[in-house]
Symmetry: none
Subunit: 206 residues, 4 copies
């Protein structure tokens, strides 16, 4: 059914091959230094073929990043929505999600690319803010709002959900820069992060 001809992928598959190749190449070299020749070769298509699917390098770059982000949205969204999950557990679930679904996956590369190239791609930064970041922020706030037992400093975290994500971002960046000099045990770091957050009960001190 699929593949009406041998050796020739269906259009959707080709698009996926291209996007996959693009992620690899852009990750390795950054946007400006990435060569579409490489993308085409790794995708197993001719260079001109890229232009049948994407109008230019910039658009390919943005679409590629969005294509990886999209599937993550559902996952992210439902973390906050299950009202029955206790906040502390939701927090743990978030860290576990990061550990399992981000670390060592294409999503980790995407985070690095957003961080690196975002400032030069305002449209991209906006997309990520709108579709991923603001939703993550809202999710944390929603979780924090449900926290009534003082398991953690709900006020601080509600005001600055970034503090939850900061060690995740740090992990991604450390791994890309310093792993070879000093490996980072990310699960242990996340555990320590969780410990600190849960110890910092809100009501005692201002």
């Amino acid at each position: 059914m699929r593949r009406p001809r041998a050796g020739r992928a269906a259009p959707e598959e080709r698009q996926e091959h291209i996007l996959k190749a693009a992620l690899e190449v852009f990750s390795e070299h950054g946007f400006a230094a990435a060569r579409l020749d490489d993308v085409a070769r790794r995708a197993g298509v001719a260079k001109g073929t890229l232009y049948l699917y994407f109008p230019d390098k910039e658009t390919l770059f943005e679409r590629m990043l969005q294509s990886v982000a999209a599937p993550a949205l559902a996952l992210l969204a439902h973390l906050a929505q299950d009202e029955n999950v206790p906040p502390a557990a939701a927090l743990s679930a978030l860290l576990a999600f990061f550990e399992k679904e981000v670390l060592g996956t294409p999503r980790e590369k995407v985070i690095r690319l957003i961080v690196s190239e975002g400032p030069r791609f305002p449209r991209l930064a906006k997309f990520y803010y709108d579709e991923v970041v603001s939703k993550g922020i809202a999710a944390i706030r929603s979780i924090a709002a449900r926290e009534k037992q003082g398991a953690f400093d709900a006020e601080a975290l509600s005001q600055f959900p970034q503090l939850i994500f900061a060690p995740l971002l740090m992990s991604v960046i450390w791994r890309s820069l310093f792993s070879q000099f000093e490996p980072l045990d990310v699960p242990a770091l996340l555990a320590a992060h969780r410990t600190i957050l849960l110890k910092s009960k809100g009501e005692h001190e201002s």
Copy 2:
């Protein structure tokens, strides 16, 4: 005083002009997309002049980053060395230092460039690990080692000093990506960070 002649800067000044211009241009476009023409123009020198001071684009890039890093080292070092400062105060001092000496200064741009370009410049990553990061890590461990009163979770922070820095990194990156969509009150975020850290006393629970 020396050579007040107009139109010709002293060699050290010219080098500084070039480094300053380089920081700006590389920050705006990233390494690969930066044009040395722009650097020269902003430095007020001819293109060829760049090559009197630096052998090539890559070296200019690395030297520029190192030139900003170098002065920071002294500051960083003495944060940890004053044994009379109570650990919690040292922590506060660190955050204050970041707020005052990094945010909105060239150092902030340098951090962004390290994060963005480091993976493609292993020598650079190594330099920053050796000269800045590992020293910062050691400084935190030294502070944590002096903590006897349980003002914060010395064990967790001693094991993962990265957790101290994570919100600083997050701040830098947020500002470069999302400030226009949602401004971040970094001093307040740092205060919340400090609050959480100080509340998370080590020995009691968990």
Copy 3:
């Protein structure tokens, strides 16, 4: 016949056009001063096209010289191989070959370029020594070895076949340098050369 479409030459043709243009431009300016822009323009291709056929200027230069040399080899080889031709006649044939197949042809320019640029292109000098010069030398020796009748000084020429070629080289160089001041009648010079060689019988005087 094949692909009569206008405006687009067949790949082999384009390569030939490029090589032809390269010979002209390199001949006119020498390697270092030749501009690939000129080569491209004369070949009727875009500058980038050159790089589809040759990896860099140096390689284009060497390949161009080899492309002219290659066809000459066959001609050169068979001059010495026909055992039935009397040595004196072979000698005459050699001079006639030079007159007809070198003078005023691309091969003359190639000789000039080898002479001029060879010292800076050791690979090139080696190629010419291996493929052209040493074979020519061997050919002369083979001819001289067959000389039993004392038509010329077989011993001297066998030891120094260069003496046969020297006036040919002189002709090429004279034409490139001094023709405008004093034209050189090369056929007559070669005739005189032949006369001298044939008069210098070996056995008489030491």
Copy 4:
């Protein structure tokens, strides 16, 4: 007396240093690829100093070549002028002169440079034709005119004095191109050349 200040050469010496350095550098790289920086360094002067002695690169090149040629003229001239020397001896003297005064001396390099760069420097070619070549040609003709005894083919050599010089040129070029593959015993080659010339008596034998 000379050198009014230590470490600072007299102007004429400096000029000589520059010319000497120029010969070396131009010989090694050819005109276009030679760098005046190198010339200055080898001459032990600053780059700007070159321009105090020569208006530009081209003029330096030409003057340098002329400076080496000039002293040769006297030598060349008197070879032909001594009417008492028998022609055959004059011929031998010419070859000996080449062997001793050209081979392995700066003059050899100059010949190579004339050959290589002459076509791009018409003024240079003219200078050499007028000052050196035409005089050498005339000298040979003058010698040949005195040959009455049939020691060599006076007619052929009178018509084409180039035939005398051809092996000399060949020697210079061979040494620059192929010596490393096949050394050339130039004195022996010149002896063979002389033998052939002297054997080729004019009108007697066909």
